[in-house]
């Protein structure tokens, strides 16, 4: 990673961190219903997605705020998902090539594989990347996705963030094996990287994307990370994990590590405080735009079920409209 890119990575990681903290606050204030914080996973998320090109397609789960930031996804549309405004989010998934958030754990790996198969059929050198946790690897669909990707040499990067926990279940109870070894089992490389090291993450993801682009098929990346917070704002992680673990993780904060790296390479303090200011501004803009944003009206629940609503559904829509009256 050259110096510019490294600074850019830091800038976006910081932005993601501040958005994440703000989202937790917004939830406490009742502005969001629930939110799954990703603080601690910024290096894994931002550095990996920056290794891709804009034409590549991203398949996120629900905890990929950092990936969304790296991808330039509209934050208001992103956060509105957590206000219950729209399942999957209200951002433009086509423009950012950032699929709707998947909240059924493990089920979206196959979509990435299918998309990648399609890109290959088209002869386009585009790559799909799919994000999931170590818990997701236990779902049968994850293994089916690995197997399809291997058989069809699909240009897909499987990016597993092993943050040590699936809600309250620790990684060592999730599987007796090591996640990165699943790759080999299905006929393609698996690698493990330090998910707190932005440069290592970037290098591994670039290599995997290149490999995919060359037509050599998938790679599984297991990035070891930590979530600083609970599973979601609805979770109480003091019930199942020691505070010491969180403290250790915070001491190795990927943001702090990258800052130290940058500072050592001569980036001045003023640059960091500018980045901080920029993030603060972005966060306050987000807060304002969320406050101003309206949820889509209820009747929209009818509008995207089919390409054209069958008569019975159109009737139901008008029944709801009538019930809600003219202001709806």
């Amino acid at each position: 990673m050259d110096a510019d890119r490294l600074r850019e990575t830091y800038r976006l990681m910081l932005l993601a961190r501040r958005y994440d903290e703000e989202a937790v606050r917004l939830q406490r204030q009742g502005e969001l219903v629930a939110f799954p914080p990703m603080s601690g996973q910024e290096a894994a998320q931002v550095a990996s997605v920056l290794a891709l090109s804009p034409a590549d397609m991203v398949f996120p789960s629900y905890r990929e705020l950092g990936v969304a930031v790296g991808r330039g996804v509209d934050m208001t549309g992103y956060m509105l998902a957590f206000r219950g405004a729209w399942n999957g989010g209200l951002y433009d998934c086509r423009r950012n090539r950032f699929a709707p958030m998947a909240s059924s754990v493990g089920s979206h790996l196959l979509h990435a594989v299918g998309w990648a198969m399609g890109a290959r059929l088209d002869g386009r050198d585009e790559v799909a990347i799919v994000y999931f946790g170590e818990g997701a690897t236990s779902e049968g669909d994850a293994s089916e996705a690995f197997n399809f990707a291997g058989v069809f040499r699909a240009p897909v990067v499987f990016f597993c963030q092993n943050n040590g926990w699936a809600i309250s279940v620790p990684a060592e109870r999730q599987s007796a094996g090591e996640i990165w070894r699943r790759g080999e089992a299905f006929g393609f490389p698996g690698v493990r990287v330090d998910g707190g090291d932005a440069e290592a993450v970037f290098a591994a993801t670039s290599a995997a994307a290149e490999r995919a682009r060359r037509g050599e098929g998938p790679t599984l990346i297991e990035a070891l990370t930590h979530r600083f917070g609970p599973h979601s704002t609805a979770d109480d992680d003091t019930r199942y994990r020691e505070r010491a673990e969180v403290e250790t993780a915070r001491r190795n904060d990927p943001l702090g590590r990258l800052r130290a790296r940058l500072a050592a390479s001569g980036v001045p303090d003023s640059w960091f405080s500018d980045a901080e200011d920029e993030a603060r501004l972005a966060v306050s803009e987000l807060r304002a735009s969320l406050a101003a944003a309206e949820n889509p009206p209820a009747v929209e629940m009818f509008d995207f079920v089919y390409a054209a609503p069958p008569p019975a559904l159109a009737l139901q829509r008008s029944q709801l409209e009538e019930l809600l009256g003219p202001d709806a």
């Binding site: 206000r83 059924s104 949820n295 629940m301």
Partner: protein
Amino acid sequence: MPELSMVQALNAALRHCLAAHDRTLVFGQDVGRLGGVFRVTDGLQHEFGERRVFDTPLAESGIVGVAVGLAMAGWRPVPEIQFDGFSFPALDQMLTNLAKYRGRSRGAYDMPVTLRLPSYGGIGGPEHHSESPESIYAHTAGLKVVTPSCAQEAFNLLVAAIRDPDPVIFMEPKSRYWAKEEVALEPAGLPIGRACVVRAGSDATLVAWGPMVHRCLQVASAAEEDGVSLGVLDLRCLVPLDEATLLTSVAETGRAVVVHEAPRTAGFAAEVSARLMEGAFGSLKAPVQRVTGWDVPYPSGAVEQQYIPSVDRILLAVQRVLDY
């Protein structure tokens, strides 16, 4: 009698069964140390040990599949699937194996599995956390489908389900989890398969289960103020269905409205309507009405109250049967 929430009543039922029968097992995602995301299994691992109350990997098909094997080995599994929508990855094991293993083995193996499923909507949950799949289970011969509407029923029915030798899909109404009432913690010994008239009424009968029983009681109270007397029937078990009580209740009023959260098309209200067609046609004074979720995927939390049958929508249907 203690005042308990439905969560506490369910917890008490599990504790009772774990204590009463040492081959009862409780397992699922986060049911151990965390006590379940809704705390239904709170304290059970501590009390009964990791051997009998344990966390599993994040794999619903695996949870149901090993439950089948554990049942074959003589255990009495009470697995939890974390949310309704996450029972779908396990549908194959349920439809293909759990429901059919007794038959396939010609009765050699009982399948005393009680699958606990926090179900239905109304709590502002994210996608997949508010589904009402009861008609899928009810359509699957070999399964029983039980769903309580209040804390006392939750206790009684969960104990009955766990004692039952057949697989029971036990659908818990999340939106009623925190409603409190006095609960007698003595197993009633009731067999599953009995509906319950929760409110008598003479003008029309509301038929519901799970979370919509409470909604129908609200409707009945509202109607009472207008001088309309509505009965409320809580089916409690969809399979086996207490057809006798259903037919009697509706025959008395000649008018019925069936209510559920699931989408309308091929939902279980259709089955209720068909049974009334077949068994009460002569006494019907108006066509049975259905008030259900719309034929759309369960919407996001902000607008779910426009999806779930509201008091107003149910009252409109009542009006329709009264005016017919």
